[in-house]
Symmetry: C2
Subunit: 351 residues, 2 copies
DNA sequence: TTTAGCACTCCATATCCCTGAGTGCTAAAG
DNA sequence: CTTTAGCACTCAGGGATATGGAGTGCTAAA
């Protein structure tokens, strides 16, 4: 049995009706929506075929049909129309992203929240460097006789600082010297190399001086670690409750817990390979057990040349794929544009 | 009719049973728990009195009793025993807070998450300066000929930085000059004063120079604005679903939405006056409509001398007040201790 | 003042029935 | 061979109706 054109039209109609109503779709509803001039009986026959082929499922004998994951997959790959964003929608996205320049992390966080609001689904975000990052330079600023500010700039143009207090007093010249040592010995090193270098230095330096160096380098290492860590953030988890498939707490709780915990580790399916920039995982296509009944739509975006981020939407398999993909891709493009291409991201700033 | 000692004992028993079971409490259960040697009939009489006095409520004629807000209030004020934290609990709190020094915001965020985990309720956090803050000093670091880093340190020892790119090239001496102007004209000013000062300067400066100054001052103003804003964060909203009063989505959704939105504005009941450091609001004692059926337990803590934070737990009126207050106060004390007393908070660092 | 006893109330749960949407099959029509 | 009308059948969902049991309030005796 082959998949005729008419069968595809019927499948498409069923998916779209089901997305809109969240209830099993009967032959009558299909007859109305898809204006093929065809009787419900014929449609019933076709639906029986589609069920046999695995594109549809039947909750129980006398109910309508529901798309199977395979059915959604076909819909997404072939049948789904291009959804156009309205003027209001694009405008809203633009406004939301067009914030005063903020810290990178915050912009991404904010972006997640906004996307969640306009899509009505939970959203996760992540950003990771494409390669190992290193420190580009150190600066030390004297504050008072026993405190100074260490400023660390990485080669992906992130700048972090920290106020450091010391037990002993320190002169300007000493600070100068410290700065020279740091810049000559620890610039361009990865996290591991830094650790080694610090170990070696311990044996052949004066203890007092070493302690100071160590404080700053330790801070730099924390910065590198934080930057290379793929921390996943989530936003809008409570949106789940708006969708009927999560009206029962038994369904909602596990997923919500999973998404909340997701903030801890990089458990989310960030399997996005570098070349493709939009990816859809439907139901059982998700490797992770907790996501077996959900779909994930994700897109990647670039942050300058050295970092790449992922932003994704999580929802029931009955997700409005057309809308979500349209919004998500617009979003990812905006982010890429926003973070520019240059070596110095324009909104880079930094704590 | 007066509130005899026996009535108090019965009330206490009812509150505690209800906290444990979430179901209306009958005379039989009270007889078992409170070992007064008294028959259920007598207890029934006393319960009738307590109901008349307004301490108890009856969902329907043939059901047990439930504490009223007034009943909880009496319990919290007079009857509640001191809850002792177990070793494991204190240890868990200590571990969780004992992190590598992080940015202030993050420590607070993290603290909220931890408290939420150990209390099983949502938690909100907030930190605000006690007085208007100003910039203590500016530093400028040349990066390349058309970019520099601006470092701003406020008088509450927060340090923020930002990478600024310029259209034109700039020499070291020019940068030096810029730094001098900034430090002589904009140090010690509040947000509003800064704005005025900047306006005045516009008229009597060379346009090129003014543009540069403006860039940096604008950044400083953003920092001040951000620091003085009372941003409220929430954590662990999904914990609500674990409590039977929120098993119905009709109850859960409004509150969850309220708490999520809470991140936007300072809508939460941060009515904590400066002198008291623990505050409990029960049900209708909350002014806010969305919290009418919930209780809020909150405590304040100090961040150095210049800032004060609030951390609070939100839950159903049937909240385990003894446990929550014990944990919360331990938590607030730990935070106060952790952020020290000195002018420079020890873990201050900063983006 | 306390307590045993008892009739009464009323929620929760289970059971049953019924309705209606939807199916699959058959047989006739195109 | 495909389409369609007709029809019997299935089954989830939603009332309506019983039933059990926990709990009360009251009375009368201790």
């Amino acid at each position: 049995m082959e998949l005729t054109n008419r069968k595809k039209k019927i499948l498409r109609a069923i998916v779209e009706i089901y997305i809109a109503t969240a209830e099993p779709v009967g032959s009558k509803a299909v007859a109305q929506q898809a204006n093929l001039d065809i009787s419900t009986a014929t449609i019933r026959n076709e639906m029986a075929d589609l069920t046999e082929l695995g594109y549809l499922e039947q909750p129980h004998t006398s109910a309508g049909r529901v798309p199977s994951p395979v059915g959604y997959r076909l819909y997404v790959n072939e049948l789904m129309g291009e959804h156009q964003l309205t003027m209001q929608e694009t405008q809203r996205i633009n406004e939301a992203l067009n914030l005063k320049m903020e810290e990178l992390d915050r912009v991404i966080d904010r972006a997640g929240k906004v996307l969640s609001q306009i899509s009505d689904y939970p959203v996760f975000t992540m950003a990771a460097p494409k390669k190992r990052i290193t420190v580009r330079r150190f600066d030390l600023l004297m504050v008072e006789e026993n405190a100074f500010i260490a400023v660390v700039m990485t080669d992906n143009s992130i700048v972090k600082n920290k106020l450091i207090r010391m037990p002993d007093q320190l002169s300007d010249t000493q600070l100068q010297l410290l700065s020279t040592v740091l810049n000559s010995s620890f610039v361009g090193l990865t996290l591991e190399e830094m650790e080694q270098s610090l170990d070696q230095m311990e044996t052949r330096s004066a203890p007092g001086a070493f302690q100071l160096i160590s404080l700053v380098v330790q801070f730099a290492m924390e910065v590198l670690k934080e930057q290379s860590g793929q921390t996943v953030h989530t936003a809008g988890i409570t949106h789940l409750l708006e969708h009927p498939e999560y009206h029962s707490l038994d369904k909602a709780k596990p997923l919500m817990n999973y998404l909340s915990d997701g903030q801890e580790g990089a458990k989310l399916p960030v399997t996005l390979s570098a070349d493709q920039n939009m990816n859809i995982l439907i139901g059982p296509e998700n490797v992770n057990e907790a996501l077996k009944d959900t779909s994930v739509v994700m897109a990647s975006y670039d942050i300058g040349d050295n970092m790449r981020g992922v932003i994704g939407v999580v929802g029931p398999t009955r997700m409005d794929y057309a809308k979500v993909t349209a919004r998500l891709s617009y979003f990812a493009d905006s982010l890429t544009r926003m973070f520019g291409k240059g070596e110095l991201p324009p909104g880079e700033d930094e704590e």
